[in-house]
């Protein structure tokens, strides 16, 4: 555990380098922290505030303004359903509802085992393949509610199989 904490702080040190001690790097610092941790914690933001010599409330103000930043840990496989125009017209709302139903979580929520989190995103730029969703790094094109059911069942079976294989070793 102790080692873990040290690792995390080493992470932060790597991001908060001297040449970035300028207000204009605030957003890119927050982006890097989120890339390494998956979310922004209150402690991290206080550290950033101290580092840049600005009030923690100002850091919080910037972070909450932008859609990219999240303040709770995401699932291991974040599910993002595109809500761009093309996806909306192609039934994106139904796809989102189907995802929520199949994963048994609310939009914006994370499953109890931290495996999946579900969020709606603005256009991911694959409008020609609408409606789309991404699960982890994979893009799933032309979704329909029945297809969502299939995919989720498949992925859940897949991760259970991996868990079984992992515990067998």
């Amino acid at each position: 555990m102790g080692e873990n904490v040290q690792n995390i702080n080493a992470d932060l040190k790597k991001i908060l380098t001297r040449e970035r001690r300028n207000r204009c790097y605030l957003i890119s610092i927050l982006q890097d922290i989120q890339a390494s941790r998956g979310f922004l914690s209150g402690e991290d933001m206080r550290e950033v505030a101290k580092f840049l010599g600005m009030p923690a409330s100002a850091v919080w103000g910037v972070a909450t303004f932008y859609n990219q930043f999240r303040f709770t840990p995401p699932g291991r496989r974040p599910v993002r359903v595109c809500m761009g125009t093309a996806c909306h017209l192609g039934g994106g709302q139904l796809v989102l509802e189907a995802m929520a139903r199949e994963l048994e979580i609310e939009i914006g929520g994370t499953t109890a085992d931290r495996e999946f989190s579900l969020e709606r995103v603005a256009c991911i730029g694959c409008c020609a393949l609408a409606p789309v969703a991404t699960i982890g790094p994979d893009v799933y094109p032309r979704l329909t509610p029945p297809k969502v059911e299939e995919i989720v069942v498949e992925i859940k079976a897949d991760s259970t199989a991996q868990d079984v294989a992992g515990s067998g070793q």
């Binding site: 300028n22 957003i27 125009t85 189907a98 256009c123 020609a128 393949l129």
Partner: protein
């Protein structure tokens, strides 16, 4: 090294590639290609060519704009035709390699057509009708030249415009752009040279910003350009920097475009290596550096003053203009902000001349327009057409019309800031001024086609929801106005409104327009105003009859299984229904229990097409009274 030497070197590298006996296989791996599975195809191709007795080279390229045909593979044979294949899967790879790479069978059943052009000429597939209507300036080598190789760009004429500009006076460069009549492609169509002149005349340190914050849901032209031809944008920025006297440029890209960022970074590195960027570039005394700034996801950042706030590390709030950024911009310095496409035209204008650019398009809007075609079209993807082309050509000749022959309903141009135009306005020529007159805007260039199964009220509600969520909160009319506009539209889609609300909607739309500082608020009512203007009858149907003609608005629509069409024994709908709302009556005919139905539409999708028994009824009172819910006794039994 002088540019001539750099060019000669790149050219000879390129010729060694293309004039020898090497077979080239190009795989489109832009984001849309990847989503369709092109990385698996790439891997399969690389494996398949191992150990072949021929020299074969597999390269990753960008996107040709034929998104509905992805994954695309082009095989270029020395002395033979270059053939483009569509919807390629890893299973097709052995056949393609055996057929056309090793032997001379072009596998015509899998081919889309032959590929012509390249080497600086626009790449086209003449077999496809759409290319007869397109004119590709910016897209000329997208999906053909590798975005990962600066040699390809230079060998096909790249960086010549920059070198030419560096040999002129900044004022002359601005004059050339002025003569070309280039107007900003960010949406408003402001003359580019006028902006450049203002910035040129300002004193002190200056900056150039390339606006690549393509936030409009439904537009992806900038992404494709950055992923397929990043050097064109870099060259344009450097020319702009030289013309206005700036030494530092920033590209503000959405973080949702990781591949574009990766390819830009690579391109910047290569350009610096060749001394075409950085200190004393291309042997001149001019220095220009470019930094990439990743946006953090706020639609309002696309507005220029808001974007500068974001680069400075603040909340992305727009400021009053004037003073304009050309006078007081980033960190209070004069700043030039141009869109990706605007900057990408600049090298071509310098290289081929203003007169050449004016040959395309109309007198008031010269050049081409680039559109992202999406929605209910056959050929979704990118299109580049001369300004002045009609919407009809864009939708029918290039887009191929609506899918499966559904009735065309309308076309939404310019996203949440644009408007929705009906069939009667399809002959409107596409240029900045004509579209504005019709109530839409060129905007970002997203074109979304709607058919009879799309509801315009629902679409207006969708765009208002978007504006409401993305409103930065600075102006009251925008922050609270869009909130209430959404509420009014939501009420209409739920059948809870009367004509009073329709009148209120119009009044509110005018107030939001008048009381907002930036384009987001000022244009947010456009989708509502244009739909109210052109689709009055659909609004009235919702309000007066509680009927959604498209069967989209859930509260006003019911799913119903036609007893005369239901096959009884197939049970597809029963199994697919997540709410367990479908049951059989005493004759085995399926019935949707309206009390349980969540209107997810699964039953309609899975009902085999030979029966096609599931239909949508609106208003809900159309469902026959005997077939609405499960009878009490039966439900207790189960």
């Amino acid at each position: 090294m002088k540019f001539d030497d750099i060019y000669r070197q790149s050219r000879s590298n390129w010729e060694a590639l293309y004039q020898g006996q090497i077979v080239h296989i190009l795989v489109g791996t832009a984001t849309c290609g990847r989503a369709a599975g092109s990385m698996a195809v790439l891997e399969a191709l690389r494996k398949q060519i191992e150990g072949l007795p021929l020299e074969v080279r597999v390269s990753e390229v960008g996107c040709m704009g034929l998104c509905s045909c992805e994954p695309l593979v082009i095989i270029i044979k020395p002395g033979g035709f270059s053939v483009c294949y569509h919807h390629v899967t890893p299973q097709m790879v052995p056949q393609l390699v055996e057929g056309y790479v090793v032997n001379d069978d072009p596998c015509l059943d899998l081919a889309l057509g032959t590929v012509t052009g390249g080497d600086g000429e626009p790449v086209e597939i003449p077999e496809l009708e759409r290319f007869a209507h397109e004119k590709r300036l910016l897209l000329r080598s997208c999906g053909y030249n590798s975005p990962l190789e600066i040699d390809h760009y230079i060998a096909c004429g790249g960086y010549k415009g920059l070198v030419k500009a560096l040999g002129m006076k900044p004022g002359q460069v601005i004059q050339e752009v002025e003569r070309s009549g280039l107007r900003g492609r960010g949406g408003a169509g402001y003359p580019t040279a006028a902006k450049w002149k203002l910035c040129h005349e300002a004193k002190g340190q200056k900056y150039v910003i390339c606006n690549a914050d393509e936030g409009d849901p439904g537009a992806f032209m900038d992404r494709v350009l950055l992923e397929s031809d990043p050097h064109g944008v870099l060259e344009g920025m450097a020319i702009a920097g030289f013309a206005v006297g700036a030494q530092q440029g920033f590209i503000y890209v959405r973080e949702e475009y990781p591949l574009a960022i990766e390819r830009l970074q690579k391109a910047i590195g290569q350009a610096k290596e060749k001394k075409l960027l950085g200190r004393n570039m291309a042997g001149s005394r001019f220095s220009f550096d470019i930094e990439i700034i990743k946006g953090a996801g706020a639609f309002v950042s696309g507005e220029e003053t808001a974007m500068m706030a974001a680069i400075e590390g603040r909340r992305s709030w727009p400021e009053h203009r004037p003073p304009y950024p050309t006078e007081y911009g980033l960190w209070g310095r004069p700043t030039l902000v141009n869109n990706v496409k605007t900057l990408a035209y600049v090298p071509l204008i310098l290289q081929y001349g203003a007169g050449w650019f004016r040959e395309t398009g109309t007198a008031q809007s010269p050049g081409t327009a680039m559109f992202a075609l999406a929605g209910k079209l056959v050929n979704t993807g990118l299109a580049e057409v001369p300004m002045g082309t009609t919407l009809r050509t864009l939708v029918y000749d290039i887009g191929g019309g609506t899918r499966s022959g559904k009735q065309f309903k309308g076309v939404q141009i310019g996203g949440p800031s644009g408007g929705c135009l009906p069939e009667t306005l399809l002959d409107t020529p596409i240029d900045f001024d004509s579209l504005k007159e019709a109530g839409a805007i060129m905007g970002s260039g997203g074109v979304i086609v709607m058919d009879e199964n799309n509801c315009v009220v629902d679409t207006a509600r969708y765009f208002t929801d978007f504006s409401r969520q993305e409103s930065c909160g600075k102006c009251t009319q925008c922050r609270i106005g869009t909130f209430h506009m959404f509420g009014l539209l939501d009420g209409i889609t739920r059948g809870m409104s009367s004509v009073v609300e329709l009148a209120a909607l119009k009044e509110l739309a005018a107030d939001i327009k008048a009381g907002s500082l930036c384009g987001l608020g000022r244009m947010a009512p456009n989708p509502v105003l244009t739909t109210l203007r052109y689709y009055d009858d659909e609004y009235k149907a919702h309000v007066l009859e509680k009927r959604c003609p498209a069967g989209v608005c859930k509260e006003l629509t019911a799913y119903y299984i036609l007893p005369e069409k239901c096959e009884r024994g197939c049970d597809h709908c029963v199994l697919a229904c997540p709410a367990e709302a479908i049951f059989s009556d005493e004759n085995g005919l399926k019935i949707v229990d309206q009390a349980k139905c969540t209107k997810c539409g699964s039953c309609e999708l899975v009902c085999p097409p030979e029966y096609n028994a599931v239909i949508r009824l609106s208003p809900v009172s159309l469902v026959p009274s005997g077939r609405r819910t499960r009878p009490e006794a039966a439900s207790k039994e189960s």
